[in-house]
């Protein structure tokens, strides 16, 4: 018994020493980033790949000596896609002096918008939250930093127009979507574009959890017979949609999936890359391993004598994690530079984020320009298509119908 107690005391003492030692070693220049994740909740298929991407990029930056002499410490908290734990996570980040935080999840972003503004800590929500959060005047501390659903819808229509020979007049486009607020959000933009471009649009809602859509697909392919399909599905639903469309013989080259219907895992679960030949995806971060930064991360692992993690093979989601981390680091770098090398506070990091421009990380990050008014950075996307067993870039960074999106943003801002 006493030996047991003693050994635990030993452990406790070691912990305390280690903690103290670590505290002293990094005491001079350390910056804390908060990162919310979903590694165990309903969207764990995203979180378990995206978050390692984030962590790896930060580890890479730290292994090269940090940002302008500052080491970065990431505090990661799993919010399980629930709102109360997200609030707790934010308060924890604030307590530990985080200068910025990466949010995870649409309801969590909604629940934190106000708190971020009150606490003056910026939060990034790429692919989450409402499209109107792109308006930096309305949500000063919320940064989507990636194409919103509106911008994605605009880009999807622009791509369809290109694919269908430059005109959409008299064409038919089917919009199949997950029946929740995120799924309905692009509707306003799509309806507007249908009027402007003169195409006929019909919508097909898929109720949660979206594992059964035989009726909708039959309706689309058998009755409506569209020229193009825009698919906005989440979770396991994209795989089901690919499989069903393939089964009905619809050409997948006439289908485009928005950002959460576009990871390798979605396509592989539909029966493999071979089955989905021609399927188009919209991406807000570069895909594949052909980027210097990805090579650097691999080299970092090799230098430590380890194999690169298997998450790296799921490049769509992994690279999104890298993109988020890279933009966080870039915001910090801008802030430190603006302060002449001193450690910035969260408001200065926000200004740093708002001065990101011309930072592309070898093509992984779009040529975005984040400003005080535009927290989306322009709404840039790429189209990647399944060709010969992998995703291939078919359309470089572009913005779809930017003026229409801006019109909607302005209209939304005037409503509130």
């Amino acid at each position: 018994m006493t030996r047991f107690v003693k050994s635990w005391l030993g452990v406790a003492a070691t912990t305390a020493t280690l903690a103290l030692g670590a505290g002293q070693a990094f005491a001079q220049k350390e910056v804390v980033f908060g990162l919310q994740c979903d590694r165990t909740g309903p969207t764990a298929n995203v979180g378990t790949v995206l978050c390692p991407g984030y962590q790896d990029y930060i580890a890479l930056v730290n292994s090269k000596g940090g940002v302008e002499g500052h080491k970065i410490k990431v505090l990661e908290i799993d919010n399980e896609y629930k709102v109360p734990p997200a609030i707790e996570a934010h308060e924890r980040f604030k307590k530990d002096g985080a200068v910025l935080e990466g949010l995870y999840g649409t309801p969590q972003t909604a629940g934190l918008n106000k708190k971020l503004e009150e606490d003056k800590i910026l939060g990034t929500s790429p692919g989450f939250g409402t499209a109107s959060a792109a308006d930096g005047k309305r949500y000063p501390y919320t940064f989507p930093i990636a194409a919103s659903y509106w911008s994605q819808a605009g880009a999807a229509v622009a791509f369809a127009k290109e694919k269908l020979g430059g005109s959409l007049k008299g064409k038919k486009i089917a919009y199949i979507f997950y029946d929740n607020p995120a799924g309905k959000e692009p509707l306003a933009v799509l309806e507007d574009l249908a009027k402007d471009e003169g195409f006929e649009m019909r919508t097909f809602a898929v109720p949660a959890p979206g594992l059964e859509m035989g009726a909708q697909i039959l309706d689309i392919t058998g009755r409506f017979k569209p020229d193009f399909i825009i698919s906005h599905l989440f979770g396991r639903a994209p795989s089901v949609s690919i499989k069903e469309l393939k089964g009905k013989g619809f050409p997948l080259s006439k289908v485009v999936g928005l950002v959460w219907a576009s990871s390798e895992a979605d396509i592989i679960a539909a029966g493999g890359m071979g089955v989905a030949e021609g399927y188009n995806t919209i991406q807000f971060a570069g895909v594949g391993k052909d980027f210097p930064v990805i090579k650097d991360i691999e080299a970092m692992y090799k230098a430590q004598g380890k194999q690169p993690p298997k998450e790296m093979d799921s490049t769509v989601l992994y690279n999104r994690g890298v993109l988020i981390a890279a933009l966080h680091v870039e915001a910090l770098r801008n802030a430190i530079k603006a302060k002449g090398g001193a450690t910035p506070n969260s408001e200065e990091v926000k200004k740093g984020m708002e001065s990101i421009k011309g930072f592309t990380l070898g093509g992984l990050v779009p040529p975005m320009e984040i400003t005080t008014a535009d927290h989306e950075g322009g709404g840039w996307v790429e189209i990647w298509t399944v060709k010969g067993g992998k995703l291939v870039r078919t359309k470089e960074w572009f913005q779809g119908y930017r003026p229409v999106i801006q019109k909607h943003l302005a209209a939304d801002a005037s409503k509130s």
């Binding site: 452990v11 070691t14 912990t15 280690l18 903690a19 994740c37 590694r39 165990t40 309903p42 378990t48 978050c51 390692p52 962590q55 790896d56 580890a59 990661e76 908290i77 799993d78 629930k82 709102v83 109360p84 734990p85 609030i87 707790e88 308060e91 924890r92 604030k94 307590k95 649409t106 309801p107 909604a110 629940g111 934190l112 918008n113 106000k114 708190k115 009150e118 409402t130 109107s132 029946d179 929740n180 607020p181 309905k184 959000e185 509707l187 306003a188 993690p309 509130s416």
Partner: protein, 355 residues
């Protein structure tokens, strides 16, 4: 709560029903009040206040569910939806009519009570698993309505942003001030429930739970009391939803989905069905356990895992330990944390002369 006389000396019904069984109980309450009103808010870091705030909201919702499930024996898995009814009612009133929180809060509760009575009507004819499915239908219908009716949900995003609650020009916009705001309602909910369950209504609820035919024979109108239980329970849920709305600053569709109903059921089952103290313990347990596990692992886990592994380990361990502890507690004491607490207390009641 923490103390007991050394035997049973009660000779009258009123003594048995008293809120304060011993004079010292009043002092306990006074000390608790002192701790929570004076000491905690001024000496505890804001971070811990934010956790307490989440617990306070959870207590209000869990008490409501326990009145229905624990005291009246009517199973409901539509609690999350009733919260959303309260949340959207209050948010609409606050945004469209500009009403203050002291009007929107009861309005949200009343609207939830009304919807609760409608959803609870099948309870007049069915019980048990059948009723669970009927309330599940209620949950899904309410979710669908909020998703699909922009007049209620305020547009495609189904979100309505509300301002912070204000009282006489004072805005509750920090964790510290929200602490008082939420503590106030949590205390009201606790006191109201304590009084409810020892009143005629509360006893009628228990009679309906234990044997509804017998209850009817001794003169309890079970239709009335079942619907009343749904109304009261949904009122609490509605208020809980309003509190969430003001705490988050937004009423959002995805905050009140089925998983929330399940979380609240977990709280009252872990805490103890049909017990106010158990409800509070359950709400604390479910809110706090993940945080405690994470903080523990952050401090100790570094000895066994690398930083990269740690994120996955913490997430996985939290789910594992959470599930394991639920099973453990329910095997050790099927009646929940409340019974566990009472066992400990009765052990010490005769300590050191137990036999």
């Amino acid at each position: 709560m923490f103390h007991r006389e050394s035997g049973v000396f009660k000779t009258t019904y009123s003594a048995d029903m008293a809120l304060y069984p011993l004079p010292i109980a009043k002092w306990t309450v006074a000390v608790l009040a002192l701790v929570f009103v004076v000491i905690v808010p001024f000496f505890v870091h804001e971070y811990y206040l934010s956790i307490l705030n989440l617990i306070f909201i959870a207590i209000v919702g869990a008490l409501g569910l326990n009145i229905l499930v624990g005291y009246t024996g009517q199973i409901s898995i539509g609690h999350g939806a009733f919260m959303s009814v309260g949340a959207y009612t209050a948010a609409n009133l606050a945004v469209k009519l500009g009403l203050p929180f002291w009007l929107t809060l009861p309005a949200g509760g009343l609207m939830a009570a009304l919807i609760g009575v409608i959803v609870g009507m099948p309870s007049l004819r069915i019980k048990g698993l059948y009723l669970a499915i009927a309330t599940l239908a209620g949950q899904l219908i309410i979710e669908w309505t909020i998703n699909r009716v922009p007049a209620i949900s305020g547009g495609a995003q189904s979100s309505i942003e509300v301002d912070r609650p204000t009282l006489f020009g004072f805005s509750f916009n920090t964790q510290g001030s929200l602490y008082f705001f939420l503590l106030f309602f949590a205390v009201i909910a606790i006191v109201a429930t304590l009084n409810l369950v020892r009143s005629r209504i509360g006893r009628a609820f228990v009679a309906v739970r234990d044997q509804d035919i017998a209850a009817e024979i001794i003169g309890i109108n079970i239709y009335r009391y079942k619907l009343l239980a749904f109304a009261i329970s949904s009122f609490y849920a509605g208020v809980c939803g309003v509190l969430y709305t003001y705490y988050f600053g937004i009423a959002n569709y995805e905050q009140f989905q089925l998983v929330v109903s399940i979380d609240y059921l977990a709280m009252i089952i872990i805490g103890g069905l049909g017990s106010v103290l158990g409800t509070i313990l359950g709400a604390i347990f479910v809110t706090l356990l993940p945080i405690v596990i994470r903080i523990f692992m952050e401090n100790v886990g570094g000895l066994f895992f690398t930083t990269a592994e740690m994120a996955n380990v913490i997430s996985g361990l939290r789910l594992g330990v959470f599930g394991g502890l639920i099973i453990f507690f329910l095997i050790v004491e099927p009646e929940g944390l409340n019974r566990l607490w009472r066992n400990i207390r009765s052990y010490f009641r005769v300590w050191p002369f137990s036999y």
